[in-house]
Symmetry: C2
Subunit: 337 residues, 2 copies
Amino acid sequence: MPTARDVANRAGVSQSTVSRVLNNHPHVRPETRKRVLDAIAELDYHPNQAARSLVTQRTGSIGLVVGDIRNPFFAETAKGIVDTSRSYGYRVVLCTTDNQDTLQSEAIKLLRSQEVDGLIFGSVRMDDAEVLALIESGFPCVLYNRVLKTDAGSYVVLDNRKGARMATEHLLKLGHRRIAVLTGSRQFSTFAHRLEGYSEVLREYGIPVDRHLILDHQAYAADRIGTLRRLLGQRRPPTAIFALTDDYALQVLDTLAELDVPVPEGMAVVGFDDIRIAGHSRIGLTTVAQRKDLMGRLAVESLMELITARAEGRTPQPIRLVLEPQLIVRRTCGAQR
Amino acid sequence: MPTARDVANRAGVSQSTVSRVLNNHPHVRPETRKRVLDAIAELDYHPNQAARSLVTQRTGSIGLVVGDIRNPFFAETAKGIVDTSRSYGYRVVLCTTDNQDTLQSEAIKLLRSQEVDGLIFGSVRMDDAEVLALIESGFPCVLYNRVLKTDAGSYVVLDNRKGARMATEHLLKLGHRRIAVLTGSRQFSTFAHRLEGYSEVLREYGIPVDRHLILDHQAYAADRIGTLRRLLGQRRPPTAIFALTDDYALQVLDTLAELDVPVPEGMAVVGFDDIRIAGHSRIGLTTVAQRKDLMGRLAVESLMELITARAEGRTPQPIRLVLEPQLIVRRTCGAQR
DNA sequence: CTGAAAGCGCTTACAG
DNA sequence: CTGAAAGCGCTTACAG
């Protein structure tokens, strides 16, 4: 592999000048610049990034930490994150954690060992002490999708409470009074906030929140048929299920089909996220849409601001962006009957 | 940030000894080791990766180059690639190209500037001169999913011809004689090989390949309704459509629904890939399954072998792995009527 | 406008 | 078993 020294020798200049040309410094004679550029082309020279990082103290990479990249929500936001990073000249290291703490710790090590300039977290738990400590140490990081309980740090999230309010109110207006909800762990702010929105609206309509209508996804996943059969076998069974992610909603549609419950006639179903497949004619899922591309873009732009601030020795204010949800009415809620 | 020098001072040893402990060298007195380890813990020291890379000439990262991470096939293989890489202590830099050459060139620069030790390509064109040159230069890289026309380099692919044969033969055995095929660009080996399998079987059954039954996805995408309407309006319209990816098949199901053509009664549909949603009760897509997790794992293992060989100065033989397809019969083909 | 020198933070022979 | 020194390949003041 050719080095800057090889280029310098070939162009008959010093290594400093090669570096100046490479970094577009002013004060290089056009003729000198051309000689260097020619030598670079002739040798097919590419500067060694490690050497560069070592002296500049920046890597040009960021880390993206998500639970599971196969989850369409994360795949769709990842697209925006990679594209926007590239526009800033940044690379993205993909870290998947399967929601395991040890794997998240590994991702955090990337920052500590200066392999990345910043970190974007998509699947943080509300009480995550490690991420909280990282933020408080002033390391550049941005949360998206989910936030910490303390509201610490910079983040880009949907107004999840509002989104859940919209979905619940939509079902109420369609006449539903017994609305079940399928939620994930309340350790995640997404579920906690969506559940709050759901409960709020019910109360505003004078409907008590019935804990028999709150299904935990973990229990459901362990026995789908049994869980839904029990739900439907209640004295006053629900007429609608609000699944707090589209992924959950797809599973519910699956189980209802197995139980021969027609949707929406026998049961209305609403999801959350508006992943691509939700709009497919065979699915037609009514759901709450998030601007996933925008969320990814804003997360990167926020992180870039934090990284720049740190490099300039500033202590930046946290950046907190809350995006607007949008209700997408399709077939599974029954509104289009 | 603390450095190895800080650790050395605190432990009362030299920097060399710190390095030895860090790299698990033998010949370090247990007591000395402990002192160093304690100092590392007290200072929360993490070795600077750039400095390490500079001297070891390895980065501990690989690049994953795919067209679009939102494509479930790539998201699902990416999972296997990230997990396996981690088991080797490697990080994954995610490069998405949108099938643009300039973006693929950028990914290749990562290798030239020694930001990654190797590259895994998921979306290579058959006639890609740049990737071919890279392989011939001996840079560690592995293709998966798609290969080059010259069959150069190391790769992990499905036996696409065989997969297409299985799907086509299945339709023939169901009595279909007019089978349309929806293909992507033949510049990609996946489509070229699947198309070959399709044509082969037809010929073996004494059925001429009718070019009016070969639909290009680009034309279809531009006017879905019109394209299918024209297909169905032929004198002898097809009774089945073989979409060469599940993504295409989902689109076909969508368009057929708009045209009020019942599946499978009015039209049988078969896909390729077996992405997760294909098995959903609302979709029930008959398709050719690929072991996407396995493919990702094997791609990384192959790349690790190439990287190791190169580091040891060996010139390794290309590694060529061809995986077996599996036909998954669901509802859209009509076999389960 | 250009070059010589120092230094980023590690690892690795080479001594001892 | 341990340390002093060199060097990986760049960038960046500092001179001139």
